[in-house]
Subunit: 241 residues, 2 copies
């Protein structure tokens, strides 16, 4: 068991969609802020990691959503660096409501990337030790993400405000492009229950991406790919209810 | 003098741009949340106003920006409903940093709009009284907003997440379109010092807007118009440093 860290915050109206539910990009921003606060509290903040010429990159999220938090709610975000192996660090996030009920579980995979050659680095003990997470041999394989077999797309230009103060496109932003293509009717009728997403390549400012999607109406699952030309930057499956 | 209401909040990284400055849409979201909190505290929240068949609409902002708040800062947002006349309510917002220095002043004009016929309503005493703002005769005329005489534009589709839990496109979102057109080089070299913006017509989901702009390099002023066809939805001038 790693150290846990919690923050209680209010869900502001400007983070909520037309249904009054916390949006996915906002939810991811809030949970990542909690893990950054834990890192700062353990003296393993951005500056410490940068001193090794490294930066944290998220490669996967597996989300289990019982219900999305709603406008005005007080929620508690808890994070724990669960375990790590040579290359991968596994961190969980939980969102609980004021009654203590679990609303959302997010299982994530982080890697350390070399700032110069943009290649994955092995996990350094100096960086990881204070989190007290378990060292394991096993590599977690998330659920297989089904491709967009046919499908269609909408194009999106990466905007100035899509680059955050960490100097690159926060991958929470990808959800703006993934979700928007599904349209008003679908999004006001359905709620996401499970999300599997894999970030394969970094989208950059100035790119115009294609947000490909298809919806399997029988299983109520949407398949998504962020592409530029033939290159897949991100793939995701979302199970809806 | 009207009643004042303050909230102290931290500026999260996901609300900041590549320079580490609070973005304009995020700043406006935060200040409006403070005025909503004041209204709730005075029992003049959304439900109370809706019971009269009305809703608040913002028609103008005049912003004076000494400096934009930065990532990780604790800021105090203060709001006061200053005065009102038959149709217009004038509300100020101030953002102060932890040392008490004023970073931003936002002077705003609110009107009450009939939810059914979408026409402006006169200000009701039942709604406005608890704010204790001054009743005046005068109508404030903001600085004249210069049009886009020549200029060029980029198109933007209104996205699902641009509609907030108040059921329409939050006019803070317009800043996503206004600012983005200026591009990375300009936006990383210049800071906004004064902003005059007028919201003339509501942009709706499904619209594709044109964000027109031109930059007067001598005065370092940008002129902006959000247009659909010949119709102007919003016009703004921004003075940069």
């Amino acid at each position: 068991m790693g150290k846990r860290y919690s923050e209680t915050v209010e869900v502001p109206f400007y983070h909520c969609d037309v249904n009054g539910h916390l949006t996915l990009p906002a939810m991811l921003g809030m949970v990542i802020k909690t893990s950054e606060a834990q890192s700062d509290a353990l003296d393993r903040g951005k500056e410490f990691v940068t001193n090794f010429g490294l930066t944290w990159v998220i490669t996967n999220y597996e989300m289990t959503i019982k219900r999305l938090p709603e406008v005005g709610e007080q929620i508690t975000i808890t994070t724990e660096a669960i375990s790590y192996n040579k290359y991968f660090c596994y961190r969980n996030f939980w969102i609980h409501d004021a009654s203590g009920a679990e609303c959302v579980l997010i299982e994530s995979t982080f890697v350390l990337m070399d700032l110069v050659n943009r290649k994955m680095s092995s996990v350094l003990e100096e960086i990881i030790a204070p989190y007290e997470s378990e060292k394991i041999k096993k590599i977690h394989r998330g659920a297989k993400i089904l491709p967009v077999a046919a499908g269609t797309f909408l194009p999106y230009r990466v905007r100035y405000y899509d680059i955050d103060s960490n100097q690159h496109v926060n991958n929470a932003m990808y959800f703006n492009w993934l979700i928007d293509v599904l349209g008003f009717d679908f999004l006001t009728k359905h709620q996401p229950k499970e999300i599997h997403i894999k970030f394969e390549k970094e989208v950059e400012y100035g790119h115009e991406i294609e947000s490909w999607y298809e919806v399997d109406q029988e299983t109520l699952t949407s398949h998504h790919e962020i592409r530029i030309g033939d290159q897949i930057y991100c793939s995701a499956n979302i199970l809806w209810s």
